[in-house]
């Protein structure tokens, strides 16, 4: 019996030694790392709306966006190319988790400022988090008078947008975005709501390492009495070369500010009221 115990003990020890024979196995066993999802989205915009993408600390991004007139306006407007509106913006990474931006859109002469803050970052490993969640808050000031308002003072020109940008990189080629949105307009024409809730859906599919297909849809949850506006829909191609991101888009929205395209898009996408447009971004 004693001898038996002895043999078992020695066997157990030798087994213990041989079990740890492969050095690579030992190395992998003790490794404790968190792997973060990289480049869920390449650009800070999907089509019109923001993605969860933030600038890294001290990076400055300059974005120029154009939306031409409606394609179905015919040869008189050269399929919309005669009519263009533009938005410039500067977006700066205060830290890796906080980006601030200012912009101006020639449509309705709107100035806007926004803050984007990273709440969660998708990761695997020691820290497991299925989504990247970014908070977005903006304020926009229209400086062009609205002919529908008899009184159009400063406060009637202001609107606010708050969004949660919930993103997940599903695979190396597919990223999806869900964006619950709240837009508050200080003043609206009769029969319209000041507060609009909407749900944005979007995604990108990479065709190769530098080109992807992007699509976006903003579904308005708040119904208004006069249903003169449509949900904003967009589809486009994104091309990335070094520090540049180019977008070539088709969308039924004219405005490039959240209040404008989420709550006041008047083109019917399926009726051909499409605007060709592009976004060009350069990171310094």
């Amino acid at each position: 019996m004693k001898r038996f115990t002895y043999i078992v003990a020695v066997l157990a020890l030798t087994f213990n030694l041989s079990a740890q024979d492969d050095l690579m196995d030992i190395l992998n066993e003790g490794s404790e790392e968190t792997i973060y999802a990289e480049a869920t989205f390449k650009g800070a915009r999907l089509i019109n709306g923001h993605t969860s993408k933030l600038r890294k600390a001290k990076e400055l991004e300059f974005v120029i966006s154009h939306r031409f007139g409606r394609i179905n306006s015919g040869i008189d407007d050269f399929f919309g190319l005669d009519v263009a509106n533009i938005r410039f913006s500067l977006e700066y990474g205060i830290s890796d988790k906080l980006t601030a931006g200012i912009g101006r859109n020639s449509f309705e002469k709107v100035y806007d400022g926004f803050l984007k803050y990273q709440i969660f970052r998708q990761s695997e490993g020691v820290k497991n988090m299925p989504f990247t969640v970014t908070g977005f808050s903006s304020m926009a000031i229209r400086t062009l008078d609205n002919a529908n308002f008899t009184e159009d003072d400063f406060s009637s020109k202001v609107s606010y947008t708050h969004q949660l940008l919930i993103a997940r990189k599903m695979s190396p080629t597919v990223s999806l975005l869900l964006s619950p949105t709240y837009v508050h307009r200080n003043k609206v024409i009769a029969d319209q709501e000041n507060d609009i809730f909407a749900l944005g859906f979007g995604g990108r599919v990479k065709l190769n390492n530098r080109i992807s297909l992007n699509a976006e849809y903003y579904y308005r949850l708040t119904s208004e009495l006069t249903d003169q506006f449509k949900d904003a829909i967009g589809i486009g191609v994104e091309i990335e070369t070094g520090g540049h991101v180019f977008h070539l888009n088709f969308t039924n929205a004219r405005s490039m500010v959240e209040r404008g395209f989420i709550t006041e898009t008047n083109g019917d996408f399926f009726n051909g009221d499409l605007h060709f447009g592009f976004n060009i971004s350069r990171v310094f």
Binding site: A9, L23, M24, I26, L27, A39, A57, E59, G242
Partner: protein, 185 residues
């Protein structure tokens, strides 16, 4: 009698432990730098989270590194490195597993500097290749340090450099490693 067995077991455990701590050395914070020098720019990246085990009894060495732990000064470059070149979602790790010729002074952990030739299989971007490179091992106070440099041809590991950036990224990248090992317990 029971006591005797107990002591025998105890001494066996000690012996096993002793054997371990003298042969195997480990690091999880090894430093690897890669450096590319092209006409338009020099690119450099560092990782301080490289893992390695050195076995001085069997004369074996393994290295494992996560591509995403490489840090660049420009974060956008880091993103491109992971996304467009190394495809680190698909190939998260680079590994090396090899052996080197024995040296009795080295396995006895005599203080000094030893140059050995390590040869084995390196795997980058999902492509495995045989390589051989001289490694400098420095032993002092029971600890071991390893240093080596080798050149990796980007093309040989199936990494494509588009023509647009051919003047920004070198065809051959210099990989420098410095590992400070601790006895493995």
């Amino acid at each position: 009698m029971k006591l005797k067995i107990f002591f025998t077991l105890l001494s066996l455990v000690f012996l096993a432990q002793l054997g371990y701590s003298q042969d195997r050395f480990v690091t999880r914070s090894g430093h690897v730098k890669f450096f590319s020098s092209a006409p338009l720019e020099d690119i450099e990246a560092h990782s301080n989270k490289v893992s390695s085990i050195l076995d001085l009894k069997k004369n074996e060495v393994v290295v494992s590194m996560l591509i995403k732990t490489f840090e660049f000064e420009k974060k956008l470059m880091q993103e491109h490195f992971n996304e467009n070149y190394m495809e680190s979602d698909k190939y998260p790790k680079s590994t090396f597993s090899g052996s080197f010729e024995g040296n009795s002074d080295l396995s006895a952990l005599k203080d000094g500097t030893y140059t050995v030739n390590a040869s084995g299989e390196i795997s980058i971007h999902g492509v495995s290749k045989q390589i051989e490179t001289p490694v400098t091992l420095t032993v002092s106070n029971g600890k071991v340090k390893a240093d080596f440099v080798f050149m990796a041809k980007v093309k040989e590991f199936g990494i494509k450099i588009p023509k647009v950036v051919v003047r920004n990224i070198a065809e051959e990248v210099e990989v420098t490693a410095a590992f400070e090992y601790e006895p493995y317990k």
